[in-house]
Amino acid sequence: MNWLNINKNDRNLLIGFIVVVLLGPLIMEPIGGGYPDLLQKFAIFGIFAIGFNILFGLTGYLSFGHAAFLGIGSYTAVWSFKLLTMNVIPAIILATLLGGFFALIIGFIALRRSGIYFSILTLAFAQMSYNLAYSVLTPITNGETGLQLRLHDARVVDGLFGVERTAGLPNTELFGLAMSGWNGYYFCGFLAIVGFFISLRIFRSPFGLMLRAVKSNQHRLSYTGLNTRPYTLAAFVISGMYAGLAGGLLAVTDPLAGAERMQWTASGEVVLMTIFGGAGTLLGPVIGSAVIKYFENIFSSFNEGILLNAFSFLPEGLQQAFAWTVGLFVGEGWHLTLGLLFMFIVIFLPGGLMEGATRIKSLFQSSTKGSPPIQKDLPVEKS
């Protein structure tokens, strides 16, 4: 694997990642997650978070508007299905490119400012796109209903190759391979691996080093006579492309796109995933998004009946009380748990799960070997 030009640790990490993606169904089976819909989400939001991490984790610029690119990716992909072909390749390529293009425009303006101003500017742009998608852009976005496939869509390329029209709505496909079920998962998984590899290369490259330098002290970097804007802009565009790709994949697995994907709460979600796993680390965002999506899936499926069942060993009064208390945190109340978890992480583990893992590791090492504690990484954010 020398041609990949990466060191041994990274190679192991990459191989480990590939193995986990390939064996995903087997690994998730025992804990009730071994079905394609959920695993697809892991892969897609993993891609989204990996991309966000390249911006936030490396440069420290906290964008609150990344969902806009996700939404743009989805809309592009669905339009590609409607106008060109049901093949997913053009759809995701276009989604990625368009995501990057919009990131270039927005980044060009927003990156003139840093810190909280940057956050607010990106938030403003995302809200603007969301509001426009809901109102004037209805011919393109189909407003509240969301953009969907129709029977009489043009599909020019499919027409040229003489693909027969099916009676119902066509499925997304990769040269005849239907992109549903496990096929869909492995397609997303493959792209997640590619995305992870690219992010790994960026982390280890001089470019990545430059981005880290931006985070630790942008002023000093400018004093050395270096213009940091092209670097941050490149990072912003790359993360926008990741977001566009993730949006395109969302449309691949389920060909419809709605404006709510662009709302700022969706941007908040990816921030959350990245922080939760550990911003600035390679694996953190992937783990964060998988854990959050997994628990979202598990927790929101609970309802009162299940809870009453679970506490049925208790006396009646207690059973009700317990079920009610737990009910606050699951099902509809899943977001409450998420918020609490999020606060907990930010307060006690600013480095996310990855920092937790490091701390536990150092705890064991210092107790067994008496080695000095691992030097704590600097906080990932800009001050």
Binding site: I120, S135, I347, E381, K382, S383
Partner: protein, 342 residues
Amino acid sequence: MDAFILQVLNGLDKGGAYALIALGLTLVFGTLGVVNFAHGALFMLGAFCAVIVKKVLTLERVELDPTQLTAWGSPVEIRTHYIEEWFGDFGTLLIDFSVPASIFLAIPIMLILGIVMERGLIRHFYKRPHADQILVTFGLAIVIQEIVKAQFGANPIPQATPEMFSGSADIGVLMGFAQNTVVYPWWRIIYLIFAGVILSSVFAFLQFTTFGMVVRAGMADRETVGLLGIDIDRKFTIVFGLAAVVAGVAGVMYTPILAPDYHIGMDFLVLSFVVVVVGGMGSLGGAVAAGFLLGILQSFASMNEVKSLLPGIDQVIIYLIAVVVLLVRPRGLMGRKGVMED
């Protein structure tokens, strides 16, 4: 001309709400240096104080009257509000005025909440990066929002305007226009006056009292004030409580205009942040001016004439202005130098 004035008036009451929230945000930012994403949640909690008061006041006793039957043949239910039973006409009046009366509940509750929030959570984040502050308060906002949702449901809960103010004022007549050209609901006038009173009393408090003077000194140079032997942290805690009260009462009084639901705070917060940034981070006057300015511009943008010229402008005007202002005047309209510049 009359349409013009009407739009200005329409913008003013929305601007009033923006200004009140933005004022609190700026106060907290200027004193504690914390970017508080949970401020919108405080506005929402204030609004729900009004909901609670209304609920408590309208607690009722249900009696069945077997002598009278409804169309379905069941006995007629006679509902009496306890409060009317106990206080008679005063009780009826109290129910009618439940929204303004809620202020008396909202002030102590918001003050305590604000102080608890500052002492319990925000205090630990002074030295942390701004991104951490944003994130933790964002998490807190989600938590508050979800608790309210679990308690009150997801649907908006409309609140009635007091009978006395439910109509509209034909204020065009006062300015010499024909009748019914400039009609403006009474409650919005009340809200506007209310916002003005709150804003000016906060400014007066900061400007003319010793406490306010110390706070202003602390905003300018916290360390020196501390060296003079003043426990500036305690004063700033109270300022945080004050900001919470301002947001809370703004929420209470806004309920008849917009029925509160659990995400009303977030909706206003995003806009208020834009307002703060446009006004200039850390400038109280800027926040208020920008609040009214953006409120008015938003209402102009939603005029049909403007919309037909530039479709969709009403949806994006505020954000567009924020973008332009930040690029042309990076510190905002009245921003001071050295605030939030790393």
